[in-house]
């Protein structure tokens, strides 16, 4: 598939903002605009572009076209996005929430547990929180006390659950191997599309609610993922030691391997 790549240069408050509009070459049907805010030379953006390709492969059958509008900072965008994929620091994320209070925002890089504790209504977190990673490592040590394995979202050698297919597709498109950040960018775009394609009429809090209650997505990690009320994506994690996958968390035999809430903060403080 050949992407139409249109570069627009818009003069706005922060100096120069580069807007990239990527869409399927077929521009018929309902158009869905997703905003990407962050650098475009980082793996997370390549991941989101991979997600866009796959979203449009699906959309083509359903008369839906997704556009990923990439900007490095807020401002200068005339369209109201259906959702925002954010790859920015915490301060910028705050600004985005202020500017777009009714739009689902998907954080793709920040791992701070505190952000999850804030329980923002329309804010979703794709990467595991620090607390989730620590819990996964703690579980793993109970299973293998001497192991120095670290918890990760993804690994380039992951094969199960059609992970191999995703790794191949990403490598072919992007020219480098999928890492934690690239997976987060891909997952953000893909889960948005998987939800929107079933309910293209939804926007704003309607879409927020749909993401929270009706997600149908496994992230090529073999388990039914969903969002916690903290906005955190429930997901299994990989234990990596010396660049090899040695295990998966929740760790079977230590906890119930189906219990994704054994990792990190499961609920908002009342």
């Amino acid at each position: 598939m050949v992407d139409a790549l249109i570069k627009l240069r818009l003069g706005v408050h922060c100096g120069c903002v580069l807007v990239l509009v990527l869409a399927s070459s077929k521009l018929s049907g309902q158009e869905i605009n997703i905003l990407y805010i962050g650098n475009t030379d980082v793996p997370v953006y390549f991941g989101a572009r991979q997600g866009l390709l796959e979203a449009n492969a699906q959309g083509e059958f359903m008369g839906v076209v997704y556009r990923l509008i990439a900007i490095t900072d807020i401002g200068g965008v005339s369209v109201t996005p259906v959702a925002i994929i954010a790859a920015v620091d915490a301060a910028r994320l705050e600004q985005i929430i202020e500017v777009y209070p009714h739009v689902p925002i998907l954080n793709t890089i920040l791992k701070d547990t505190k952000l999850r504790e804030n329980c923002e209504d329309a804010l979703f977190h794709i990467p595991p929180s620090t607390a989730m990673l620590e819990d996964a490592e703690r579980q793993w040590r109970q299973h293998a006390p001497k192991s120095k394995a670290r918890a990760n979202t993804w690994h380039r050698t992951f094969r199960k659950y059609a992970a191999a297919q995703l790794n191949i597709r990403f490598m072919e498109q992007s020219g480098f191997e999928m890492d934690n950040d690239a997976w987060a960018g891909w997952a953000a775009m893909k889960l948005l599309a998987d939800t929107i394609v079933r309910r293209p009429d939804l926007q704003g809090f309607g879409l927020v609610e749909e993401l929270k209650t009706n997600l149908a997505f496994d992230g090529q990690k073999g388990m039914d993922m969903s969002f916690r009320e903290t906005g955190q994506l429930r997901q299994p994690l990989l234990l990596i030691e010396q660049d090899k996958i040695v295990g998966e968390a929740p760790v079977r035999g230590v906890v119930n391997s189906e219990d994704l809430d054994s990792l990190g903060l499961a609920f908002c403080a009342k």
Partner: protein, 324 residues
């Protein structure tokens, strides 16, 4: 009134006796059952009368999908790591030839006209192959990670499930045009038609559910989540009178029996671990299952709804076909 009632009972008794006779003496049992063993690079041959493995065929690397020619002259096996389809003789077990099956071939179905419809997982395509010479008849663009393939009894429709696009693609034959795309649960894996070709059933691995689809309107008319969280269902098929649906429950280690009309779960029949493949004898009396992680095939008497034999086969049996 009494006479009528008596007649009904009489007919029922005769029917029960006939059923019992068939299930006991196995007049219509398959002659042989061929089973692909994914991690043994082999096909096990089971005698349908004795439920004992009578031969093992060295077939190629990582055999998965298996199908039989409409005239029963040949059996086809997708040997995934050889990127090929192997063809063997169901009587002599001789491997006759191999041909290009595309990259990492897995699931396919054999059309009544003899052609093979295979999903190409990495290429978002379904390919139509002529097994006589392995030539490519056609290619159909489908969603990402296509998996299950089903052919309607009259051959006018093919369904391909695409796992990453969460869709059933309904393809018209011989035009090879997609006439409907139906969104289902996460990671649809397998589908089956009713005999009239008006209804399809599909399993979704991640959402752990079965969906019923009206094919004239392309709408979902029923959905049933399987009771067990570990259920990652795979194969699905109807019984002979189309009143029941059998679903291979994956890690739930059982066969779910659903009412084909309401999708209500009527029963679950415990089998071995990680059950994926299903095949039903033509008379409907026997259901065969591949229990991958138990390295066995279970034989279910459908009248008793119980396992009457388990047959140890090779490592990680994947799929199976019946020669009958």
């Amino acid at each position: 009134m009494y006479m009528l009632k008596f007649k009904v009972i009489k007919v029922a008794v005769i029917a029960a006796v006939i059923t019992a006779t068939f299930s006991t003496f196995g007049a219509n049992l398959p002659k042989r059952i061929f089973v692909t063993n994914e991690k043994d690079n082999s096909v096990s041959v089971i005698d349908g009368k004795t439920n004992v493995v009578i031969a093992t065929i060295a077939i190629g690397n990582r055999p998965r999908g298996i199908g039989i020619a409409p005239d029963l002259s040949e059996v086809y096996v997708a040997i995934s790591e050889d990127n090929a389809i192997a063809v063997f003789d169901p009587n002599t077990y001789e491997v006759l030839r191999k041909f290009d099956g595309g990259h990492d071939p897995e699931a396919f179905a054999v059309h009544p006209n003899g052609n093979i419809y295979i999903s190409n997982e990495d290429d978002a395509k379904a390919t139509v192959l002529n097994p006589e010479n392995g030539s490519k008849v056609d290619e159909i663009k489908v969603g990402m990670e296509p998996e299950g393939v089903a052919v309607s009894a009259d051959g006018t429709r093919v369904i391909v499930t695409s796992e990453s696009t969460n869709m059933l693609h309904v393809i018209a034959v011989p035009e090879h045009k997609i006439i409907n795309n139906i969104l289902v649960g996460a990671r649809p894996r397998a589908a089956t038609f009713n005999r009239a070709g008006t209804i399809a059933y599909a399993t979704s691995e991640i959402s752990g559910e079965v969906k019923k689809v009206d094919l004239s309107s392309g709408t979902i008319t029923g959905r049933m989540p399987l009771a067990d969280d570990r259920a990652k269902p795979k194969d699905v098929l109807l019984n002979v009178d189309e009143s029941k649906l059998f679903v291979a429950g994956g890690r739930a280690n059982c066969i779910f029996v659903l009412d084909a009309h309401t999708l209500e779960i009527q029963q679950s029949i415990p089998v071995g671990k990680r059950v994926w493949g299903l095949a039903l004898s033509r008379d409907g009396s026997r259901l065969y299952t591949t229990d991958g992680a138990s390295h066995q095939v279970s034989v279910i008497d459908t009248a008793l709804s119980d396992v009457i034999a388990t047959v140890p086969v090779g490592k990680f049996p994947w799929g199976l076909v019946l020669y009958e």
